[in-house]
């Protein structure tokens, strides 16, 4: 219950900030739309539809994964992180709420593009249930990555656009055509690299890839949460949560 309350609190905060700064809000939406439309156009004409579909999910993945580290970084600069960590013992839960809130804001875009591609997808995903089937591991992986990037931010304090770089690298790795490589290695890659198994499932329709994506997302979440807790403990033991 508290987790839902926290998420709604973050949604309300973001909504209020958007109300105060409407130009920034609308230009962000338009930017995102253009970004997705271009990617969609490129991938659907040059590559296959599964790549295009993964690409349109990317803003959602990016919103969830990067929002955790973004919030840690901006809170550190504002000084609010010390207030939050000092009082709120469930910082991990708050971070989850922030990532979920960010995901909720970008979800409508995902839905719009999902319906645009709806008829073109020739796999089990061409239904709302199908979308949910891949959204679950996708969200879990994004949360795990979010925790991992937040841990890196806590440790290095100032990481600039590092989260975006990582996400771009992951996008490239997901879009890359791995079909020429050895099959065993491909399964290992699918099990280890986030999001790749989801694309493989969309591409080949093989349910094994779907199961692998669930395994992979839980693995990433576990790694993310453990790393985040370790760094949180380390930060408390050392310099603290201030900017410097």
């Amino acid at each position: 219950m508290y987790a839902i309350l926290l998420t709604m609190n973050e949604v309300k905060k973001t909504y209020r900030i958007n109300l105060h700064y409407p130009v920034a809000f609308f230009s962000n939406i338009i930017n995102n739309l253009i970004f997705i439309a271009v990617i969609l156009l490129i991938f659907s004409t040059i590559f296959d539809i599964s790549n295009a579909f993964t690409a349109v999910l990317w803003p959602f993945i990016l919103a969830v994964s990067a929002s955790g580290s973004d919030s840690v970084q901006s809170d550190m600069q504002l000084g609010t992180l010390e207030r939050i960590v000092g009082r709120n013992k469930q910082f991990q839960q708050l971070l989850l709420a922030r990532m979920m809130a960010s995901g909720l804001f970008s979800f409508p875009l995902v839905l719009v593009f999902f319906f645009l591609l709806y008829s073109k997808i020739d796999s089990e995903v061409n239904s709302i249930m199908g979308l949910m089937l891949i959204l679950i591991p996708l969200t879990i992986s994004s949360l795990g990555l979010g925790y991992l990037l937040s841990a890196i931010t806590l440790y290095f304090k100032e990481i600039g656009s590092f989260p975006n770089l990582i996400m771009m690298a992951l996008l490239a790795a997901t879009m890359f055509d791995w079909s020429s490589i050895n099959h065993t290695f491909l399964y290992i890659l699918n099990a280890v690299l986030p999001f790749l198994s989801i694309k493989s499932f969309l591409l080949e329709g093989d349910k094994v890839f779907l199961y692998v994506s669930y395994f992979n997302s839980v693995l990433i979440l576990l790694i993310g949460v453990i790393a985040f807790n370790k760094i949180l403990f380390y930060t408390k033991k050392n310099r603290g949560f201030g900017r410097y």
Partner: protein, 289 residues
């Protein structure tokens, strides 16, 4: 009076690349219920680190922080230096609303209303907090800290950037809060006037250790700078050069000036009796801050 927070032999060092700096060295202190205590000391003496350890933001290397009663843990709230620690792109009320949900405050609307009235924030509470003056920002920071009533309120340099009128108002507000909610308050401040007027006891921290504890009215003795005229100066017995402080010798009279935050001057003052010098005249210059 019983102690609600005890610090027992706390040590803390910061390591930066290959440098290790001992910031706190075997610090022990007790914060009593409903007390107002000040901490003064030079920059880098470990005051803020001590506050952060008390609030749980930093873990000590050794030693312990003991919260008195076993039934409910003492709630400690730290208000760090300056006007940070809230969201500048939200209004004051939106900030209070956000933090009250975050801290899980029940009946938050009433609580926010009470605080807005108590801290006289009505006129600006619905404005964007990024546009606030330092005094307004300080009030909002305090209001957020008091959303969930703490047992101990820790304040780090609360007078920074405030003019004399605002400091007077701040003292009055903090006194009201102290009386109304029985808060124990521990304040770190360089403003000795504020310390004298607001606190009851003062701890002197130097080089990571608590050097002494005095009553706050005695803070007058530690005003800076101090001008001294000393008699019985014997150049053969004591050389002024060894203390590295500005001085002027006229026969058997020695004129020195300095401030007690200066370690050399402090050492010199401590040795006056041992060296057989007598204070002929002592003057404290007015505060220059």
């Amino acid at each position: 009076m019983s102690a609600i927070l005890k610090v027992n032999k706390v040590c803390k060092a910061y390591t930066d690349k290959n440098n290790r700096k001992q910031v706190l060295n075997n610090v022990s202190l007790e914060i009593e219920q409903n007390s107002i205590m000040g901490i003064v000391g030079p920059n880098g003496s470990g005051k803020t680190t001590l506050l952060k350890i008390l609030s749980g933001l930093i873990a000590p290397d050794s030693g312990e922080v003991i919260f008195n009663d076993s039934e409910s843990k003492t709630k400690v709230e730290l208000l760090l230096e300056g006007a940070r620690s809230f969201y500048w792109n939200l209004t004051g009320r939106e900030n209070l609303d956000y933090f009250s949900t975050l801290f899980h405050i029940s009946d938050s609307d009433q609580r926010i209303q009470d605080l807005v009235e108590l801290l006289e924030m009505k006129d600006f509470i619905n404005e964007l907090s990024g546009n606030y003056s330092r005094g307004m920002q300080q009030k909002l920071s305090i209001a957020i800290s008091l959303l969930e009533l703490p047992d101990v309120l820790l304040l780090d340099e609360p007078t920074n950037g405030l003019d004399q009128d605002s400091i007077k108002k701040l003292i009055s507000i903090l006194n009201d809060l102290h009386k109304k909610y029985n808060l124990a308050i521990l304040v770190v401040c360089h403003d000795l006037n504020f310390i004298k007027n607001f606190t009851k006891k003062v701890l002197f921290v130097r080089d990571g250790s608590i050097e002494k504890e005095i009553e706050s009215h005695q803070i007058e003795l530690y005003k800076k700078p101090v001008n001294l005229v000393l008699e019985n100066y014997n150049q053969k017995k004591i050389t002024t050069n060894s203390f590295r402080i500005p001085c002027e010798v006229t026969g058997k009279e020695l004129r020195v000036s300095g401030d007690l935050y200066n370690l050399d001057f402090y050492k010199f003052m401590s040795s006056i009796d041992d060296e057989g010098l007598k204070i002929k005249e002592i003057t404290f210059k007015e505060f220059d801050w």
